[in-house]
Symmetry: C2
Subunit: 359 residues, 2 copies
């Protein structure tokens, strides 16, 4: 792994919120999403190399705090992320995150980064990657005639829209949220960017004519956002909001007539929509499609469901991409994070010498 | 949980290596260790409140990277820590660490800190806390006549010595390391602080007349540092170095004639000296002694063994202590770590607005 600052392994590059904003805007949001999708796809193509483990969750009444580690044997990554649905009523983010990359050979961290913005981007990039393979058979930008319904118009919604435009070419959106001000906010943001928007007053209305339905709501409960009668044959559902035990968005009947795809089954069985199904209900992992290892073919009458909960490898890819952009953009600061005594066995001497130099 | 900077939850206080050094020296190392021992003891007294889970380890040929989370229902903490025995040959630290505290109700991080120095301190404080209860029956500073053998004179050794002086009053030390320059370094550091030091040429020699034997070596293998014939009846062993699968320091025969104490059994059965024993071999958890819940009494001929591997609650206590010192000492910087849009649902608008203000 390349050093950012040779000989200064005690200095860890940190990407703040301001730095991340500058990096994303310097690339352009859609270019960032497009390149990030490529990084995630690369890592899905070497899926077997990774250490994979369901995330480590600490649940409380108000929400959940999770750690998401993974490693490809050369680089290790983890993300800290919370999910607190009531936060927005307090003026706080529902989801905040930060994370790090480190060098497996030495164990030293090599990047620390904000990941609140980055998580919204990698979630959208993963959704777009899945849809590229499951809707367009792996080809990009052939979906400009497709209409996407976007249910849930909160913090992640615009990123989803931009991801689907960057990768699939989707321009036509139908928006719905139980909170009309959220829909207005989302519509205003996206109209400026040239999308064709229809704002809707109900779920029944928003799904009319939609080829793709993206659900990205935030309630921590089993909220049946979509019922069976609302979803026509062959529709593609990108289910993003249900992502912890007891938090789902789809009626079970939809799942029973769907071809279902997931990121990492041991995690999705606990957290995804499929927590409503038997633990041996057939589900295909996305990497199998991306690597051409599955004989699944699009074209039946079944609904196609990507049951997304977010997996550690996507964060790994996102941090890897940000690290590759650091030298190019220069948007980071160095943190004095690792104690570096002249003699590594003399950590105590380093403390003592500070006393002398301070005296 | 008190805010450091009211109304600025997006700014997270960060304690760098330099800040940590300043904090520890401002308190004085032994005062720091003594107060930290009190914090750990407080948390051991409310053991049942904590979420407890074995650490999440990612092993490679060169070492291990671990995440250690816990929560008391109000505060959540985690530590990132690596263990790479060959690092010191490359001029790097064997163990480096950093960690965070966050507010369970909002999920927002409230402290990020270096923990390389802090881990050495909390390990020593935990060792001293265990010895206070297991050697002195819970009383402090009654052990000035005791002699401690210190096997392994690397980065953690001086902290162990200072912990045992701060809490038990131990002044007499016997030192041994396979690397004589490590012993010389340790002796020089500790003689300046008034310890009575005997440097020894072998393990057989170092344990002569020792009441307490602390083993704090770093090899990632089953290294039989101590064999059965070396350890007399009633000796107290503080075994710190063995802390992952396949890494032990004591011969099994010692364990078979020892009263054994551990931090958290589901973790220590995997990582500690007792990985050499049957999974149902009787072992007492330290909190049971500290809370007076065990009827174990000192005084038999058995060796007494504290099979320390380090547990997440000790890091929780250490971060809690550092956080309490921040306002007093002022040694921290604020990091722009959490995205804070005016409307929490409008993360994308925050990005867009940065574009405008940059234009």
């Amino acid at each position: 792994m390349k050093q950012l600052s040779p000989g200064q392994q005690n200095q860890v590059p940190f990407v703040s919120v301001e730095h991340m904003t500058s990096i994303v805007l310097a690339q352009g949001v859609e270019t960032f999403l497009s390149e990030l999708t490529d990084y995630i796809e690369e890592d899905y193509k070497r899926w077997m190399l990774f250490d994979k483990t369901p995330r480590v969750a600490s649940h409380s009444q108000e929400g959940v705090v999770e750690l998401m580690p993974t490693s490809d044997g050369e680089i290790y990554s983890f993300k800290y992320v919370n999910g607190h649905p009531k936060n927005s009523k307090k003026g706080l983010q529902t989801v905040t995150a930060f994370g790090a990359l480190s060098d497996v050979d030495s164990g030293y961290p090599v990047l620390l980064s904000e990941m609140t913005i980055l998580t919204a981007l990698r979630t959208a990039a993963t959704s777009a990657l899945a849809a590229k393979h499951l809707v367009l058979g792996g080809e990009e930008k052939k979906g400009s005639s497709l209409t996407m319904a976007l249910i849930g118009n909160g913090a992640q919604s615009e990123f989803q829209a931009l991801g689907f435009r960057a990768i699939l070419g989707v321009e036509k959106l139908r928006l719905y949220d139980i909170d009309k001000t959220a829909t207005r906010k989302c519509a205003e943001n996206l109209e400026k960017l040239g999308f064709q928007i229809v704002s809707c007053g109900s779920v029944d209305e928003v799904v009319l004519g939609a080829d793709i339905i993206t659900t990205v709501t935030a309630d921590k409960q089993n909220a049946t956002i979509l019922t069976d009668n609302m979803v026509g044959a062959g529709v593609y559902i990108n289910a993003v909001g249900g992502d912890c035990p007891g938090k789902t968005e789809l009626h079970r009947d939809i799942l029973l007539r769907a071809d279902i795809f997931a990121e990492y089954l041991p995690q999705t069985r606990i957290e995804g929509e499929i927590q409503q199904l038997d633990p041996d209900h057939p589900v295909i992992e996305l990497w199998e499609i991306i690597q051409g290892k599955s004989d699944w073919k699009k074209g039946g009458k079944n609904v196609i469901l990507f049951d997304s909960v977010g997996f550690a490898i996507e964060d790994f890819s996102a941090l890897r991409y940000v690290k590759d952009l650091l030298l190019k953009t220069g948007h980071y600061q160095l943190l004095d994070m690792i104690a570096e005594p002249e003699d590594p066995r003399n950590l105590f001497g380093m403390l003592q010498n500070s006393r002398k130099s301070a005296a």
